[in-house]
Symmetry: C2
Subunit: 478 residues, 2 copies
């Protein structure tokens, strides 16, 4: 059980907790300067800890000049500890609130937008939707006056259950499906459901940046599992499972974000067996399943599941109408009732209108036609990006699907500077470090080829390469 | 700092935490029967606690027959501890996951639906919405291909900022507003933002049942503040603030749910002063502001705020198109950046289509006409309910707005039995106990008069009264 770098929570001695408890409250201003804090006896009884523990904490607070002792009558707040309201950072908010690294990058507007792993709105079936919406108001005139059930529209859940049986050969009932507002909400709810502080969580390296933030926020200790073009090192995975008893493994095995790698079928089966043997949940995030270029990817891990340790998160709206925010979670009944409760407390159910609009498009023949066209269009964009990048010494593994290239630059290019310069030129990309639970991978970047059109894509990549050359040059001549 | 009943978290001794850490993991099956658990030395180093603490925990585990000692070589898992997967309850899910009491009642279908504090879909402007939606697709043809910004549609936030300045005389910028998927999500995000386990939280008694569940889920210690027809006992509030340093006071001061009471303007001002003096946030949930019968209620507490301790949650879609799930949170910039992060990690922003539909209706002249008609219709329904109830010895305080009557029954009527019998007869209401953080208030019920039409309402109330008489009678003759 050695300590692992990049993990989240370190467990503190109890007196340190007491120290933090008092110090946080002083910073928040709950006791004022020169006000008496609770006596050792009182706080020990309130917190149900030994008086000696509180004594130790108070001694350290005294040493650190957070409190002082007066006339043997007790401990008083030392002046200067109170934070001004507008500067309050961690003490004012719950301890695990994380930065959302990805959303910060997305706040910067860019002409050459390579940081959005989203599909160009011009490739989406916009004009059909206004027709569908009209039909929906005819069919369900009170759709906006009604809440969906918390679990999601029943008709939609039935259609999805049939779709999974047909496409993936796994059989779930409509009751085993919960509709969420996008896969982001699904990950967040599942993290809240399954993770307690101190729990170990396996996570791919690199991975989806927001997932790192979500699991950290729950206080998880993250254990990175490298993903390679041919999959994971399963011996490493098993040894982690034996040593650290991880609660879950969050993974994105199909056209993985950011690398584009796909775990082969054989490893999928082995992984499910490992997870069942070691009672580790597999959170399978299957966002890009339908975005393949040549042939369908292997069946989801969920299809191999027999004991219920796989939880399947499937996002659909991303390549149909991302604005609808529709994803589905499949999991076994014992967990569903708890997930249901969390969803009820979080938002009382996703909006019904959005579910009905999605349902109607999803059930129509147009979906398949749209997907076929979309795959061709994305493949063309990927080829353009690869064509331009082939003129450099940058390296990547060409993906068979998905929206991203995961590109390694030579060490001579300083990534942080390149990002700063790029943003000045209205070019945006995701630096590898934020996709890495260890915050390394500094030589890498994620370039999404899905969001801007062919012409801009070519121009943007050329400019990006040019910028990197200038930086490289500048550094060489220093 | 005496311990308060009905509070959530009790702080445990550290050895109890270690005990739970091991026992939870045995129940989850992370170590099998007869498998060796980590040595005292190893676990003490892993958890960063004293070996004696681990020793104490292991001794108790031994006494409780969770583990046994073998050949002095260490501690081994005692057979029988592993829970069957499908029975796993608390050990499998995060410790604070709560029941959602209200959503359980709402799952039961009922003809005479008095448990929904929702507006009858027939009173909502359904037919206009299909027109608006068409206009929106003409205006924003790619509305479904686009994400909203995480903070919410900018145009909508500007319109709301102007609305607040005009209606409530408080001035916030569009940047001080965050759009959430209903006020439920707003409460959940703010609880996650502000509450750490052990934090004291003031909460009205009675209150919105789901809010109790949400704060409990965050590990808060709840301190109930009785709400009376004329407001709170401010001396009690201040003494709680002094003694318990609560993190926040969650309150619903206008046409309060479930009582319908409205806090007078004078108390609002005093309450804000108290909160600022004692650095306690006021989470003002203002869901029913526009649902008044005779005259506008006093200004929100937020209008009196000078130092930023009031956080304003305003729900609109409830009386326009509840299916849209639109609410707004106003709070100062120092907190906004953190709330923004939580919203980004939770769902990446509410759907744009829903925000645009709401915006167009909200900006139209129809909204005022709709509200005027709605107030009359709801007042009529309230009168019918009160007319029927006046034939009983039940008591209530007639509300000046909102959707509910908070009714006290004579002690001779057993509430649990009445609810069970009612559900059999397809009548549904909210028992007072689930609105009470202390789970008392057993003589009370919340009857919503907003969801079913006049005829059904009269019939349903008559049947409910009849049932209570039968029960009363049956008990008297025992």
């Amino acid at each position: 059980m050695e300590r692992v770098n990049g993990g989240g929570t370190q467990v503190k001695a109890l007196s340190e907790h007491v120290y933090d408890y008092i110090w946080t409250r002083i910073q928040r201003g709950e006791w004022r300067e020169h006000e008496k804090i609770p006596s050792i006896r009182l706080l020990a009884s309130e917190l149900n800890v030994h008086r000696l523990t509180v004594f130790k904490a108070y001694q350290r607070l005294k040493e650190d000049k957070k409190v002082y002792v007066k006339d043997k009558s007790g401990y008083y707040v030392h002046p200067g500890g109170l934070l001004p309201f507008d500067d309050l950072d961690s003490p004012i908010v719950s301890s695990y609130v994380q930065k959302s690294h990805l959303s910060e990058i997305h706040r910067v507007p860019a002409t050459y937008q390579f940081s959005y792993a989203l599909i160009d709105p011009n490739l989406l079936p916009n004009r059909y939707f206004s027709e569908y919406v009209k039909e929906i108001f005819d069919l369900y005139p009170k759709v906006l006056s009604t809440y969906s059930t918390v679990q999601g529209d029943e008709e939609l859940r039935h259609v999805l259950a049939r779709h999974f049986a047909h496409q993936h050969h796994f059989h779930v009932g409509a009751d085993d499906i919960l509709i969420t507002s996008g896969s982001q909400q699904a990950i967040d709810l599942l993290a809240r459901l399954l993770i307690q502080p101190m729990d170990a969580v396996l996570i791919e390296r690199p991975t989806y940046s927001a997932a790192i933030d979500i699991f950290r926020q729950q206080g998880a200790k993250l254990l990175p599992v490298d993903i390679h073009p041919n999959g994971y090192d399963l011996e490493q995975v098993e040894s982690y499972m034996i040593q650290h008893k991880p609660r879950l493994f969050y993974l994105n095995p199909t056209f993985h974000n950011p690398t584009g790698y796909t775990i082969p079928a054989k490893q999928r089966k082995q992984l499910v067996e490992l997870a069942e043997r070691h009672r580790c949940f597999l959170l399978e995030d299957d966002t890009f399943h339908d975005i393949y270029f040549d042939r369908e990817p292997p069946l989801p891990l969920f299809s191999y599941s027999t004991e219920g340790y796989v939880v399947y998160i499937r996002s659909f709206s991303k390549y149909v109408a991302p604005g609808l925010r529709i994803a589905a979670v499949c999991l076994r009944p014992a967990l569903m009732k708890h997930l249901f409760t969390l969803k009820a407390l979080s938002d009382n159910g996703s909006p019904l209108l959005n579910q009905k609009i999605f349902l109607h498009y999803f059930s129509s023949a147009r979906l398949q036609q749209h997907l076929e066209k979309l795959r061709i269009a994305l493949n063309v964009r990927k080829s353009i990006m690869e064509e331009e990048l082939s003129l450099t010494d940058w390296t990547w593994s060409s993906p068979a699907g998905g929206l991203n290239l995961w590109v390694k630059l030579p060490p001579s290019v300083p990534m942080d500077e390149l990002l700063a310069k790029s943003i000045e030129k209205s070019i945006s990309f995701v630096p590898g470090s934020i996709c890495d639970p260890l915050k390394e991978k500094k030589a890498w970047m994620r370039l999404s080829y899905s969001y801007i059109n062919e012409k801009q894509l070519r121009e943007g990549v050329r400019q990006l390469i040019q910028l990197s050359r200038e930086l490289n040059h500048a550094h060489t001549h220093f």
